[in-house]
């Protein structure tokens, strides 16, 4: 736990991990869950539609090859990239076409307001432009990123306790805390035993019954 007087300094590896995590989050298609996955499962009386052979006899039915089909057509991007690496195609190829790093120095912007910044936060390396932005930065990004940095569920109780104290605060800090609560909830794995009572009752059953789609 970090107190005001003992602010720790994050090392380069953690900073790099945070940056990678932020950049990966930018690649996501959706930030919310699939609306279909939160529905209750179909009851015992609801029958799933069977593959009807009498539907359109005149049209040639396409050859669905079952397992081969699923195996072939459901690879995700990382798998394809690994295969491509292994095949070692001659240059120029996908990897060599990536644009090299820029030769210009990076421009630095305040992480709170977005205007050009001249100063760096000593803890995490985030940029800020004025002391007001530094205050906002310390209030907001410190805690949720700390929670994400720690791996494993043993800190969930800590985070819940902290959230309770924050939500009991007043006025202005409420908007920030609401945002934080959302950020932390998004990062929490719903299968954790400590939170199962609070999340949707059926969530875990959903994930095993509804066929997973590659989104």
């Amino acid at each position: 736990r970090v107190e005001a007087g003992q602010r720790r300094v994050l090392d380069e590896a953690t900073r790099q991990r945070r940056l990678t995590r932020q950049l990966e989050a930018l690649e996501k298609d959706n930030f919310q869950d699939d609306p279909l996955s939160s529905l209750p499962p179909p009851g015992p009386t609801a029958r799933l539609p069977a593959f009807s052979e009498t539907e359109e006899p005149e049209k040639k039915r396409r050859k669905t090859r079952g397992d081969h089909f699923k195996q072939r057509f459901r690879k995700n991007f990382t798998t394809l990239l690994e295969e491509e690496n292994l095949s070692e195609r001659a240059e120029p190829n996908y990897l060599s076409a990536a644009a090299p790093p820029s030769s210009l120095p990076p421009r630095l912007f305040c992480c709170v307001c977005g205007f050009p910044s001249h100063y760096t936060c000593t803890t995490c390396g985030g940029r800020y432009c004025s002391s007001r932005c530094l205050l906002t930065h310390r209030e907001t990004s410190g805690r949720s990123e700390d929670a994400l940095d720690r791996t494993g569920p043993q800190d969930m109780l800590d985070v819940c306790c902290w959230m309770e104290t924050l939500l009991s605060g007043s006025g202005r800090s409420r908007t920030w805390t609401t945002w934080l609560v959302l950020m932390v909830c998004l990062s929490v794995d719903p299968s954790l035993p400590s939170l199962q009572n609070q999340n949707h009752q059926n969530q875990n059953q959903q994930n095993t019954e509804v066929p997973q789609e590659d989104t």
Binding site: D29, R62, K63, A98, S103, P106, G114, T215
Partner: protein, 396 residues
């Protein structure tokens, strides 16, 4: 025999018969919070009354087609009775693929086109090659052109010489429309209002309000001013899907600088976000992506090619793709290039009227050209010889 031209993009599918006009249709499926059981495909988006919190199911990941289930469902809808009513045995298809497409995706595409849909013949080609074909047809005197395709997933810079792409000059910047929208969502969520779920709405905000600034630091100073002097700031009225169906940017005369609006609508106040977001195309290092921006990548790409070709490339730069629709994009790119390129070489950047459909139009011209029949692979050919035929004939 009809020819169907399909520019299969990661966000929009541009599709149409070669004698008709193009239709631009979303290439994905949607699910909405209000009608959870139903999955909307492609242009059924118009049937959704409440696009808030819309859930996107995209077949593409990082610009490459990985989810064939979703793609086939979209294609079934497009080729079916409600849309283009394709007669497969009599139709030839031109379909586009990204650069350096993985071989397993190419093979899957062959299988699906020939064995499942059973088109009579097919041509798989890069979208940029169709764009280059369009350019060379409209300007027959030019030998080379440099195509900048800035789309949803990434931006490619591809040099073409006599209608053939030069692979060693291709550069890929992993910044595209998706990144810009997600970044805009993040900064709005941090500074004003939680909109992380509202991809559809914020995409509309980005298209309506963002522009590319010509003097970045000067615009930053103006955006910091207060009151009427801040000409950069705009208020955007968010849709509530009952009274206000579609969001819009409030005109400058009606803006109230202090206090709330009387009408009680939800607004976003955007100042430096307007031009800082498209700036990522020019400087990906702004958010920490270690890649060069578009002007530098163009210079890098042309540098890697033989020196006598340099003037030809710099004089024929063509912009395609959705991101080139930002106001001020073309002028800014020309200005930045002018400072990077040696002074004796003229620089000319061409922005077509419709950059999104430019490649599709190229496909239409290609379908009518006399060489078309030699470029396609017939289904009988594929069934006899397999993937080898496609590998040799198509230059992906």
């Amino acid at each position: 025999m009809a020819t169907l031209v399909l520019d299969n993009g990661a966000y929009w599918a541009k599709i149409g018969y070669s004698q008709d006009k193009v239709s631009v249709i979303p290439n994905c499926q949607f699910r909405s919070k209000t009608s959870r059981l139903k999955t909307f495909t492609a242009n059924q988006l118009d049937e959704i009354k409440d696009p808030s919190g819309l859930f996107y199911i995209l077949p593409f990941q990082k610009g490459y087609l990985v989810n064939w289930d979703v793609q086939r469902k979209v294609w079934d809808h497009l080729f079916g009775k409600e849309m283009f009513k394709v007669e497969f045995p009599d139709t030839s298809i031109i379909i586009t693929e990204p650069y350096f497409n993985f071989s397993s995706i190419q093979e899957s595409m062959n299988e699906i086109l020939f064995e499942e849909y059973q088109f009579q013949s097919a041509l798989r080609i890069n979208a940029g090659s169709l764009g280059a074909h369009h350019y060379f047809t409209t300007k027959p005197s030019e030998l080379c052109c440099l195509l900048v395709d800035s789309g949803f997933s990434f931006t490619h810079i591809v040099p073409y010489c006599r209608s053939k792409k030069l692979k060693e000059g291709i550069r890929r910047i992993n910044v595209g429309g998706k990144l810009l929208t997600n970044h805009l969502k993040e900064i709005i969520s941090y500074r004003q209002l939680h909109v992380m779920d509202e991809t559809y709405v914020i995409n509309q905000v980005k298209e309506d309000v963002c522009y590319v600034s010509q003097q970045f630091y000067k615009d930053m100073e103006i955006a910091q001013m207060k009151g009427e002097e801040n000409t950069v700031m705009r208020d955007y009225v968010l849709p509530d899907f009952s009274a206000i169906k579609k969001g819009f940017c409030k005109p400058q005369e009606e803006m109230v600088f202090s206090g709330k609006y009387k009408t009680g609508e939800q607004t976003l106040r955007l100042a430096n976000e307007r031009f800082a977001v498209p700036e990522m195309l020019f400087h990906p290092s702004d958010i920490g992506i270690q890649e060069m921006g578009i002007p530098e990548a163009i210079a890098d790409s042309v540098q890697s090619l033989p020196e006598e070709m340099h003037p030809h490339f710099y004089q024929n730069i063509v912009l395609t793709g959705g991101n080139s629709l930002f106001p001020g994009f073309r002028e800014r790119l020309e200005a930045e290039l002018r400072s990077l390129v040696p002074a004796h070489l003229p620089v000319n950047v061409f922005l077509p009227e419709n950059p999104v459909c430019y490649s599709w139009e190229g496909g239409k011209l290609l379908a009518h050209s006399p060489d078309y029949d030699e470029m396609v692979v017939m289904r009988e050919d594929y069934e006899e010889n397999g993937h080898i035929v496609c590998e040799e004939k198509f230059d992906i």
